[in-house]
């Protein structure tokens, strides 16, 4: 954990943020302190549960693509992520 981790710019909910290169979108968002990935059908905040593509709780919008699994998508420079759609 001691080696320096390179950070890359992405946009989260319209704001520029720096996240670790190679991280999953889920890890990157949690690292930014974002814990509401989506709202449930009755409006509750939800965040990743299984971390491995099963539970579908980490769905966010990535580069305009709705319902993208954040835990199975790697961040890349210039990516736009929305958790409020």
């Amino acid at each position: 954990m001691l080696r320096a981790i390179e950070r890359i710019p992405i946009t989260v909910n319209g704001e520029p943020r720096m996240v670790p290169r190679g991280a999953s979108v889920a890890a990157a968002l949690l690292g930014l302190g974002i814990t509401e990935f989506r709202r449930s059908v009755t409006g509750e905040p939800r965040a990743p549960l299984c971390g491995m593509g099963i539970c579908m709780e980490c769905r966010v919008t990535v580069d305009g693509a709705l319902h993208t699994l954040a835990c199975q998508t790697e961040v890349c420079e210039g990516m736009t992520v929305r958790t409020d759609e």
Partner: protein, 412 residues
Amino acid sequence: MNERQEFDVVVAGAGPAGIAAACAAAESGAAVGLIDDNSEPGGQVWRRDRSHAPSQLARFWLNRLERASIHRFSQTRIVAATARSRVLVVEQPRGSFEVSYRKLVLATGARERFLPFPGWTLPGVVGAGGLQALVKSGLDVQGARIVVAGTGPLLLAAASHLRLAGARIQAIVEQAPLPSLTRFALQSARYGKAAQALGLGLDLIGVPLHVSSWIEAAEGARRVSAVRVRVLKKVKTYPCDYVATSFGLAPNIELPVLAGCEIEDGFVAVTGGQRTSVKDVYAAGEITGIGGVDSALAEGQEAGSGNALGADRWLPFKRLLHDTFNPRDELRSLAAPETIVCRCEDVRRSALDGMTCWREAKLQTRCGMGTCQGRVCGAALQFLNGWRNESVRPPLLPARVETLANPGRRSR
């Protein structure tokens, strides 16, 4: 990309069992395709860790896979299967196509089993393996306060991994009673697991371990801030940033069921050489009974080579695991009437009162009919209500319309 790609052997799942099966088949000269939904092979247990080198065992098998002549389909999800025509419909981020086989090895592994308790839907309540996976994919948990709770050897493995990543493990909460745990520790030495257990013990010196204990509730407004834990007759509260919870593993039997394989006590039934009830379809690893990496590797090699190599020597260990960590009856009352059971459709436990089976629950409440298709609440309700969800229909996962309408077309 061809509309259909043909192989002698197709292996579904690139965890230890699938890797062993694919290597064994390829090394005997077969044309092998290995399909997995992740971007790299290794499955959950050998998921690449950005901050730690892989174990010796993982390195050995990943190198062997690298050297073998195997066509690897990564980020590829199997959405439909027809056993009679021996064809799988698969989807990749950029398109879909078909894969045909003469022999199919199912090694789809397992997922964590979650049991609902009040507050388990709060952000910050994560699977124990799930949190490990997030850390491996770049989440920094340095200084984070974590309670690890549930049951099974994975709790200790997760706690140790998270602690090495800098987390402050507040407590490990294991529901199994001390006598069974002691018996497990003594007997598992027979299976060469003593050194591994000792290593975990040393990693976790100073962390409170509560046995015969369980989480009563997670608390917090918009994310978890504390958990209440029942320790013997008392309730202790631990403030925390994450709860890492897991009540053992549930096998991923959706594809085997779709392929027509017989299921016995929730697992794929196999006979000698890992044959399933369907001709030319084999199964290996956790879908045939939870047993861990070593048994998965042995079964994978058998399934891939078609020879019986003695993988059944792991059966007593599988039974020992099950007997030690089977959740106790008290956990059935953890979920309160207002606790959400189905997270996709927000179905509360009370909504299922008086219902007798999955079908009824699905029709009347949409329980299990959301995006995860019952993968989370199915395992919970099997424990809570004794319901089995063994009817599976394609698509196995939410798939693109064009995949279903016209496999073989590249999407834009």
